[in-house]
C-alpha cells in the first residue's frame, strides 16, 4: 500500500512539470502586452515599462522566464502579482474560502443526493421516482447562472433569508446559499447515479440469495444494496470535490465570493502570468491528490481491488 502511494506520487512529478510548462506557455502566448494594459488609457512611460518588464522578467526569452519561475516554486516563492502582493498570500487568502464553500456544497449534495437517489431506486416506477427523475433533469439542464440568479432573487431579495453577496471575510453563513447553488447540479447527477446503481444492484443474484437466507429488507438495503451501489457514486463525488475545490468561477462571480475561481478569473483577464500559473499549479496538485484519495477509497469499498506494487 505504501509502495503504491509512493509510486502514484512519483507519477505526479512529470504531470506536474508538464502542466506548469503548458500553462506557462499558454499565458506567455496570450495576445496583448500586460504591462501596457496596466496603464489603461494613459500613454505609458517607456522607462517605467522597461523597469516593470525587467522586474517580472518579461524581457527574457520564454524558457528563461519559465526556469526562473520554476526555480522560485521550489523555494516556495510563487512570484508576485501585478498588484504587488506575493501570490502565496493571495492563495492563502482565497483558498480557505473556496475550501469552506466546497465542503458545504459536498455535504449537501452527498446527503441529499444519496438519500433521494436511494429511495427513488428502491421505488422504481412509482410517483416519487418519476418526480425525482423530472426534477433532476430540470436541474441538470439549467445553466448554473440561472439557478444562481433565481436563488439570489428569491432567497436574497424577496425572502431575505440570505445575503445576495458574500461579505468581507466570507462568513460561513453567507456561503450557504452559493453552496446550495453549487450543490444543485451535482445533486441531480448523484440522484440519477445512485438511483440507477441501486436498481442495478437490487437485481443482482446475491441480493436474491440474501433474501433466500431469510434476511429482511431492513438489513438487505443498507448492507447488501447500498454499499455495493455506492462505488460509482463515490467516484463521482470525489471528482466533483476536486472540481469544487478549484473554484466555481461563475457562482463565485455572481455571489462575489472572494475564492479561488473568482481570483483566477481576474488574473486571466489581466494576463498576470505568475498568478495564473501558480493557481493552476496548485489546482493540478489538488486534482492529483484527490484522485489518489479516490483510488485508495475504492480499496476500502471494494475488497476485490488490490494495489499492485
Amino acid at each position: 500500500m505504501a509502495g503504491y502511494i509512493l509510486r502514484r506520487l512519483l507519477q505526479a512529478i512529470p504531470v506536474f512539470i508538464g502542466t506548469t510548462f503548458l500553462i506557462y506557455f499558454m499565458v506567455f502566448a496570450l495576445p496583448g502586452d500586460p504591462i501596457i494594459a496596466l496603464f489603461g488609457d494613459k500613454t505609458p512611460n517607456p522607462a517605467i515599462v522597461a523597469q516593470l518588464r525587467a522586474q517580472y522578467h518579461l524581457d527574457q526569452p520564454f524558457i528563461v522566464q519559465y526556469l526562473i519561475y520554476m526555480g522560485g516554486i521550489f523555494r516556495g516563492d510563487f512570484g508576485i502579482s501585478f498588484s504587488g502582493q506575493p501570490v502565496t498570500e493571495i492563495l492563502a487568502r482565497t483558498f480557505p474560502v473556496t475550501l469552506r464553500l466546497a465542503v458545504i456544497a459536498l455535504l449537501i449534495e452527498t446527503i441529499a443526493g444519496i438519500l433521494v437517489g436511494m429511495i427513488a431506486g428502491l421505488r422504481k416506477g412509482k410517483i416519487f421516482d418519476g418526480t425525482t427523475l423530472a426534477v433532476s433533469l430540470i436541474l441538470i439542464s439549467l445553466p448554473v447562472f440561472v439557478i444562481a440568479f433565481v436563488a439570489q432573487f428569491v432567497f436574497g431579495v424577496q425572502l431575505g433569508w440570505a445575503r445576495t453577496t458574500v461579505g468581507t471575510g466570507a462568513p460561513t453563513q453567507d456561503l450557504i446559499l452559493p453552496a446550495f447553488v453549487l450543490a444543485s447540479i451535482s445533486f441531480a447527477q448523484i440522484v440519477r447515479l445512485t438511483r440507477s446503481s441501486v436498481i442495478e444492484t437490487s437485481g443482482l443474484d446475491f441480493v436474491r440469495t440474501a433474501y433466500s437466507k431469510g434476511l429482511g429488507r431492513r438489513r438487505i438495503v443498507p448492507v447488501h444494496i447500498l454499499r455495493n451501489s455506492l462505488i460509482p457514486v463515490v467516484t463521482y463525488l470525489a471528482t466533483d470535490f476536486g472540481v469544487l475545490l478549484v473554484g466555481a468561477t461563475v457562482t463565485e462571480g455572481i455571489f462575489n465570493v472572494p475564492g479561488v475561481g473568482n481570483t483566477l478569473y481576474q488574473a486571466i483577464i489581466r494576463g498576470e502570468g505568475p498568478t495564473v500559473v501558480s493557481f493552476v499549479t496548485v489546482m493540478v496538485l489538488i486534482y492529483l491528490l484527490v484522485n489518489l484519495a479516490v483510488d485508495l477509497l475504492y480499496g476500502l469499498l471494494d475488497p476485490r481491488i488490490r494495489y499492485v506494487k
Partner: protein, 579 residues
C-alpha cells in the same frame, strides 16, 4: 398429472405440494405465463429433480416456492402447500421466517451469488443470526465454521475473513450450500447448483450435498437441465416443458420408458446418457435397452457416433493438418518469483478431416493451446505447424492467410456476437476483412452460409438479441465458415447450450465436417460430448497431456487415474452400473 409415486404406500404426509401452479410475468404485451398448471409432491427426506431446458419454467417454479420471483413475476393461480400451509398466501414478513429457516436455497451461479464486498464469514454469520440458530458473536462464528466444514471447506476457520474473489467457483458453491443448510431446513431447493462447475468438482459437491441432506433429513428439490444428472441424484423426476409438467415419476422408470415425446427427445439427446449407451451397447453388457425409443424425433446422438466410428474404421490414413510439437506457454506472474506454466510440453497432431478433442478441467491449459494455435497468444517454446507451415514467423499478409484457413467458434454465443451488427453483417465481416468478393457476392455467400447452418435467410437482417442461444451459436459457426477454412477451433462451443440444442449443434458440426472436409479441434470440459463428436482425445491436466488415444480407447480402456476420474464424473454413470 398423476404419477406412480403418489400411491407409494409407505410415504407420510407431503412436505411440499405444488398444485396447479401458475406463474406469470407482466410485460409490455400483457401477462406472459411462465408456469402453467404445474403440480408436484415432495415428501420429507426425499429427493426430487425438476428437469427441463432453459425457459421451461423449472427455476421459476422453484423461485415461486420461496416467493422470490424476479421482477414482475407473480403467482397467478394454484397453491404451494408447505407442511399444509399455503405459501402463496404468506406476507413478505411471514415469508422471511420461512426462508432460510425452513426452506434453504442454493443458487445456480456461485460467481454471482455472494456479495463481493463482504467476507465469507460475514455472509454466513448473518444467515445464522437472521434465523436465530445461534446467539452471541462467538457462538455464531463457531456455528459458521462448523457449517462450512460440513460443506467441505476443511480450512474454514482460516478462511472466514477472506472475500468471495479469493475462492474458486467450487469453493464458493460449497459456501452457498453451507449457507443454505446452516439452519437445518426441512427443504433445500438447489437450482442447478453445479452447472457452472467442472465435472469432477460437480461430483464431489453433489456427493457431499447428498450425504448432508441425508444426515440432516432435509428433503431436496433439485433443478437441472441434465437428465442424466437428475436421474442419478434424485428418486423422482419431474420433466417440465414450456411451463407444464409433461411427465413425472420414479427416475429409472422415466429414463427407461419415457412416455412423453419431449422426454423421449431429452433421453435421446442427453450426451451423458448417449455416451453411456454407446458404451453399454458396444460391450453388450447392459441387460436394459438404453437405445433411444424409435418414436423419438429429433437428433439421435448415438447414431451420429456410430456413423463416425464406422467412417473412421474405413478411412485411409490422412495427412496431418495441425502438428503441435513440444508447445509450452509460460506466464510471468507479477510480484511472485515463480512463473506459471499454463501449457507444458504439449504435442499432438490432427489429421485432415478429423476431430480431436482436448479435454480437461478449467485451468488445465486447453484454451491456452487454442489461443496459441490461433496466434492470439505468443508461444513460449515449441512449434505449431498448420498444413506443414510453421506459424510462429508469420506476419502481415501471411498471417492473414493463416487466419483465413483457421477459424474459431467460442463458448459464449451471447458475448461473441456484436449486438449492434445485424446477423448478415456479422457473417460477412470476415469476407470484408479479407477483401473477398464484392457486396453482391458477399450477400449471396451469407445466404448460402445461413442455409448451411439451417437458419432461415430472413435472419440476415435481424440482430443478435432477437435470437436464441442455439441460433446465435449457429451464426457464430456460419461466420467461422465464411472464409471456407480448413480448420475450425471450437472452444467449448456447445457448453453453454441446452441439451437438445447442444445435440443439434453437434449434429450440424458432424454434417459440415462430412460435407466440407473440415478439421476440428474441439475443446471441452465435458467428456460426454466427446464421445459423439471426436475421433481422438487428448486429456489435459495442469498444462500437460496426460492421455492421448482414440475416443473408443479412452472410453473403454482409460489408462490414467485422472481420465478414469473424469469418466466416472459423467452424470448418469451410476445408472448404467446400478441397473
Amino acid at each position: 398429472m398423476s404419477s406412480a409415486y403418489d400411491q407409494k404406500p409407505d410415504a407420510g404426509a407431503p412436505l411440499l405440494e405444488i398444485k396447479n401452479l401458475e406463474v406469470g410475468f407482466q410485460t409490455q404485451n400483457g401477462l406472459v405465463q411462465a408456469v402453467r398448471g404445474a403440480s408436484l409432491t415432495l415428501r420429507a427426506g426425499e429427493t426430487l429433480a425438476i428437469v427441463g431446458e432453459s425457459g421451461s419454467g423449472k427455476s421459476t417454479t422453484a423461485h415461486a416456492v420461496i416467493n422470490l420471483l424476479p421482477g414482475s413475476g407473480q403467482v397467478t393461480g394454484g397453491q404451494i402447500l408447505f407442511e399444509g400451509r399455503d405459501l402463496t398466501k404468506f406476507t413478505q414478513n411471514e415469508m422471511e421466517d420461512v426462508r432460510g429457516k425452513l426452506i434453504g436455497f442454493v443458487p445456480q451461479d456461485p460467481m454471482s451469488n455472494l456479495n463481493p464486498v463482504w467476507s465469507i464469514g460475514f455472509q454466513v454469520e448473518e444467515a445464522i443470526k437472521a434465523n436465530g440458530i445461534a446467539t452471541g458473536k462467538k457462538e455464531i462464528k463457531k456455528h459458521a465454521i462448523e457449517v462450512l466444514k460440513e460443506a467441505g471447506l476443511a480450512d474454514a476457520d482460516k478462511r472466514l475473513r477472506q472475500f468471495p474473489h479469493q475462492f474458486s467457483g467450487g469453493m464458493r458453491q460449497r459456501v452457498l450450500i453451507g449457507m443454505g443448510l446452516s439452519s437445518r431446513p426441512k427443504l433445500l431447493i438447489a437450482d442447478e447448483p453445479t452447472s457452472a462447475l467442472d465435472v469432477t468438482v460437480q461430483r464431489t459437491i453433489l456427493d457431499n450435498l447428498e450425504k448432508l441432506t441425508r444426515e440432516i433429513g432435509t428433503a431436496l428439490l433439485f433443478i437441472t437441465h441434465d437428465l442424466g444428472l437428475a436421474a442419478e441424484r434424485a428418486e423422482h423426476l419431474v420433466v417440465m416443458y414450456k411451463g407444464q409438467v409433461v411427465e413425472s415419476g420414479p427416475s429409472k422408470e422415466i429414463l427407461q420408458n419415457p412416455l412423453h415425446p419431449y422426454t423421449q427427445r431429452l433421453v435421446a439427446a442427453a450426451p451423458s446418457l448417449a455416451s453411456r449407451r454407446i458404451q453399454s451397447s458396444s460391450h453388450a453388457l447392459g441387460d436394459i435397452d438404453y437405445s433411444a425409443p424409435t418414436s423419438a424425433r429429433g437428433v439421435d446422438l448415438i447414431k451420429a457416433a456410430e456413423n463416425r466410428a464406422e467412417q473412421q474404421a474405413v478411412a485411409p490414413k490422412r495427412e496431418a493438418s495441425i502438428v503441435v510439437e513440444n508447445l509450452t506457454k509460460v506466464y510471468k506472474i507479477r510480484g511472485s518469483k515463480g512463473d506459471f506454466k499454463a501449457v507444458d510440453d504439449v504435442s499432438f497432431q490432427i489429421e485432415r478431416g478429423t476431430t480431436t478433442a482436448l479435454v480437461g478441467e478449467s485451468g488445465s491449459g486447453k484454451s491456452t493451446v487454442a489461443k496459441m494455435l490461433l496466434r492470439l497468444e505468443d508461444v513460449t517454446a515449441g512449434k505449431i505447424l498448420i498444413n506443414g507451415t510453421d506459424t510462429a514467423p508469420l506476419k502481415g499478409r501471411a498471417l492473414l492467410d493463416l487466419r483465413r484457413k483457421m477459424q474459431p467458434v467460442f463458448q459464449d454465443p451471447y458475448g461473441s456476437l456484436d449486438p449492434l451488427r445485424n446477423i448478415g453483417n456479422t457473417i460477412a465481416e470476415p469476407l470484408t476483412t479479407h477483401k473477398i468478393g464484392d457486396s453482391a457476392s458477399r450477400r449471396a455467400r451469407v445466404l448460402e452460409l445461413l442455409d448451411q447452418v439451417s437458419l432461415p435467410a430472413t435472419l440476415a437482417t435481424r440482430y443478435p438479441n432477437e435470437l436464441s442461444g442455439g441460433q446465435r451459436q449457429r451464426v457464430a459457426i456460419a461466420r467461422a465458415l465464411a472464409l471456407k477454412p480448413d480448420i475450425v477451433i471450437l472452444d467449448e462451443a456447445v457448453s453453454a447450450l441446452d441439451v437438445l440444442v447442444q445435440a443439434q449443434i453437434l449434429q450440424l458440426l458432424t454434417d459440415l465436417q462430412t460435407e466440407l472436409g473440415l478439421t476440428y479441434l474441439f475443446i471441452t470440459h465435458d467428456l460426454a460430448v466427446v464421445r459423439v463428436i471426436a475421433d481422438n482425445v487428448c486429456v489435459m491436466q495442469r498444462g500437460k497431456i496426460v492421455e492421448k488415444a482414440t475416443t473408443d480407447e479412452v472410453f473403454d480402456h482409460p489408462q490414467m487415474e485422472y481420465t478414469k476420474e473424469l469418466l466416472n464424473a459423467i452424470p448418469g454413470a451410476g445408472i448404467a452400473l446400478g441397473v
